[in-house]
């Protein structure tokens, strides 16, 4: 506990909640998978889905191409299911373990509807299960479904069956396949035809248990002519062991639909001095612009996790569909991030924009990896990529790995890149004009990231700016 408290100082979300849990034994095998499925009383198609994934996973290999280094993961030493014991009754938050509620309050996410975030509906996932959703009534009136995916399996089985694995197939990649086998919970969002979702939707993920992995699965379906903006946030206690987070997010946008998906990721990133502990954030996020004129935007502010391996992507299938990726990835201490996007242009006149801002400080390593692929039939496809890196200090590294595959002669693909360095001279310049070093860092970083921050929902933009400044406070000067 002492070690945990020592690490606690720089990461205010590093606390642990003592709560009785219902936990399956460590390890991964068919029995565990069936037990997870049984706990959730899942329909048969899901057990099949899981077992098929497990079979594929056993045959697949961990990817090694990312620009990150970490010791081998012992998949048999992970707890795949851990849930607060008190059974949540989703319509009444007073039934939730008060310790868990207090946790979310400490995280600044009050569940109490009296104090709720203005006009943001929140779904909370604590270790493996969703513990509650706010603003149920208002959403129901609009016909919008925001619930845990476990609940959706029962309330909307046809939609889950139709779309689960439709964007990230069962055998997609090592970590996504693992997720397909063992995912425990996550959010489900359904926006009916013609509905403009009346409020921001949000999920807050919290890992609490020391030994558990978090494998959540998010599925968002936007029917024709609908709109939704969704935001996820993540934190975890400061443990000195590494924990695995392997999530899958699938988005489907039908004709003329628009999905905006934003992430503020602040997992515990390990001890900044020793690099001990922290979350391995190996996540597969992908959206399918299935319909004509549909649009999917990913915005991410990644400031946590020991290792990040994450490429929120868009499959631009519908003609005239639009994919966007706006990213700030900040690494400090011993963090390693290999993140970027894939824009797969299949439909005619599809367009994509990529704006990536990488900030590396201390001993960290920060890589952008992106693919822009234009299929032969994607006539008139266009992409614009801007990829900027900022270095803070002399011992960090920033890399850019852009891949372009242009299969149609009529496409236009643009790539711009820059590298800059935040240095003592810049900070002194601010100070000599009367601006403190902290404010200077804040202004420089937010200036560097403003093209991305402005894409965040207003409620979270200011928080994200503060977070970036706090993260760099100890890295500069």
């Amino acid at each position: 506990m002492a070690a945990e408290q020592a690490m606690f100082s720089d990461y205010k979300y590093g606390f642990v909640t003592n709560v009785e849990t219902d936990t399956l034994p460590k390890g991964l095998n068919e029995e565990i998978i069936c037990a997870i499925s049984a706990k959730k009383n899942e329909p048969p198609f899901l057990i099949e889905f899981r077992l098929k994934a497990y079979e594929r996973w056993l045959k697949s290999e961990e990817p090694v191409w990312a620009n990150v280094k970490y010791p081998p993961i012992n998949f048999q030493d992970i707890t795949y299911y851990s849930a607060p014991k008190k059974k949540p009754i989703l319509n009444d938050l007073s039934e939730v373990d008060p310790e868990v509620l207090r946790t979310f309050e400490r995280l600044g996410i009050p569940l109490d509807e009296q104090k709720k975030l203005s006009n943001v509906a929140v779904d909370m996932v604590f270790d493996s299960v969703s513990i509650g959703t706010t603003f149920k009534k208002k959403l129901e009136d609009a016909g919008v479904v925001l619930c845990s995916i476990s609940e959706a399996m029962h309330t909307h089985p046809d939609l889950v069956k139709k779309y689960l694995g439709s964007v990230v197939p069962i055998g997609d990649n090592y970590f996504a396949t693992l997720n397909s086998a063992v995912f425990t919970d996550g959010s489900f969002v359904y926006i009916p035809k013609g509905v403009h979702c009346p409020m921001e939707l949000s999920t807050y993920f919290r890992i609490n248990d020391r030994e558990s992995g978090q494998f959540e699965r998010t599925l968002i379906i936007a029917e024709e002519n609908s709109y939704v903006s969704y935001l996820e946030g993540c934190t975890a206690p400061a443990y000195d062991n590494n924990q695995l987070h392997a999530a899958v997010v699938e988005l489907i946008a039908l004709d003329n639909a628009q999905i905006k998906y934003a992430t503020v990721q602040n997992w515990y990133s390990g001890n900044p001095k020793t690099g001990e502990g922290g979350i391995f954030n190996f996540v597969t996020k992908r959206g399918r612009c299935a319909g004509v004129n549909s649009k999917i935007s990913w915005t991410q502010v990644e400031v946590g996790a020991a290792i990040t391996w994450k490429y929120p992507s868009c499959i631009l299938q519908g003609d005239n569909s639009v994919g966007e990726f706006y990213s700030v990835a900040l690494t400090n201490g011993h963090m390693q991030a290999d993140t970027g996007t894939k824009m797969i242009h299949l439909g005619k006149n599809t367009r994509s924009t990529i704006v990536s801002k990488g900030i590396a400080a201390d001993l960290s390593s920060n890589s952008y990896r992106g693919l822009v692929k234009v299929a032969p039939r994607a006539a008139g496809a266009r992409n614009y990529t801007q990829c900027d890196s900022m270095l803070v200090g002399d011992n960090c590294s920033a890399n850019t790995f852009p891949y372009i595959e242009a299969g149609n002669a009529s496409c236009e693909v643009e790539h711009e890149a820059s590298t800059s360095k935040m240095n003592e001279e810049q900070l002194f310049y601010f100070q000599s004009r009367g601006i403190t070093k902290e404010d200077a860092v804040n202004m420089i970083v937010n200036g560097f990231c403003k093209d991305v921050i402005k894409e965040l929902p207003l409620e979270f933009a200011a928080e994200a700016q503060k977070l970036l400044a706090i993260k760099l406070e100890n890295s500069v000067g």
Binding site: S420, E424, E425, Q426, F428, Y429, F430, Q431, S432, R433, G434, I435, T436, K437, D439, M443, I444, N446, G447, F448, C449, K450, G477
Partner: protein, 258 residues
């Protein structure tokens, strides 16, 4: 007697363990303009940076008093709040931060520190427009990022604009004339002269007499090897222009014979 602004006593400072200032002394009173001249490497820019509080420079000994306050005990931003201003020889580019945002933040930080009310955005816009006209700067300079892609002359003009906005009491211009064409020099000098008043002190660091035709100093000091080796009136600058610095490096007895 005029009010003392700045008192530098036996100041020695080093960078990367290399001594640069070696027992530097100077007194500046309100209303005075002092030019500091000298060859490359004499320590002129180091003096400005030490006074502004640059973290790379280490003060080894000596004292600096600014309006009765111990300057060396203050953070760089506190020195700015107290009324010190250095115009950089090489102004730094700040991508992503507009000139206007930068100046507004700086001015309000100073006003806050001096218990004055902060200026709102419209108030500041109006204020800045006037100052920019003085410096003959086009309005788009407000929205451009600080010094980013500015020409050498634009950067120097921008420094003087910052001075005009922050309204300091002691100004150090570090080779503000270098890289300026004659028109830009006239504009810069005009901006400085407009700003100069009887309650202010001004230190001009320069290689050349040229700037001194536009901003007339009361005193000229020659700096060599980290200290002042000779002080005089404006005529000393002309003498330097004609003779160079070499004659000052020779031993005093040779000089008198020359």
């Amino acid at each position: 007697m005029r009010k003392n602004m700045l008192k530098i006593k036996n100041l020695s400072a080093s960078v990367d363990n290399k001594p640069i200032l070696k027992g530097f002394d100077l007194d500046i009173n309100a209303g005075e303009i002092h030019a500091i001249m000298g060859p490359n490497g004499a320590g002129k820019s180091t003096l400005a940076k030490v006074l502004a509080g640059h973290p790379a420079y280490e003060v080894i000994e000596g004292e600096v008093w600014f309006k009765g306050q111990n300057l060396l005990d203050m953070e760089p931003e506190e020195r700015a709040h107290a009324g010190l201003f250095m115009s950089f020889q090489y102004p730094v580019e700040i991508p992503g931060v507009s000139n206007k945002q930068f100046l507004h933040t700086a001015l309000n930080a100073k006003r806050r520190a001096n218990e004055q009310s902060e200026l709102t955005e419209p108030e500041f816009s109006h204020f800045l427009d006037n100052k920019m006209k003085l410096m003959e700067m086009r309005p788009e300079f407000g929205t451009r990022n600080v010094n980013e892609n500015f020409s050498g002359g634009e950067k120097k003009r921008n420094e003087i604009l910052q001075m005009a906005v922050l309204n300091p009491e002691l100004v150090m211009l570090d080779e503000t004339d270098s890289g300026l064409d004659i028109d830009a020099m006239r504009i810069v000098a005009h901006g400085v002269n407009q700003h100069m008043h009887g309650e202010m002190g001004l230190i001009l660091i320069t290689h050349y007499q040229r700037l001194l035709d536009y901003i007339r100093p009361h005193f000229v000091h020659v700096m060599m090897d980290g200290k002042i080796v000779r002080s005089g009136g404006p005529e000393l600058a002309i003498e330097l222009e004609n003779k160079g610095y070499d004659w000052l490096m020779r031993p005093a007895n040779e000089r008198t014979n020359a």
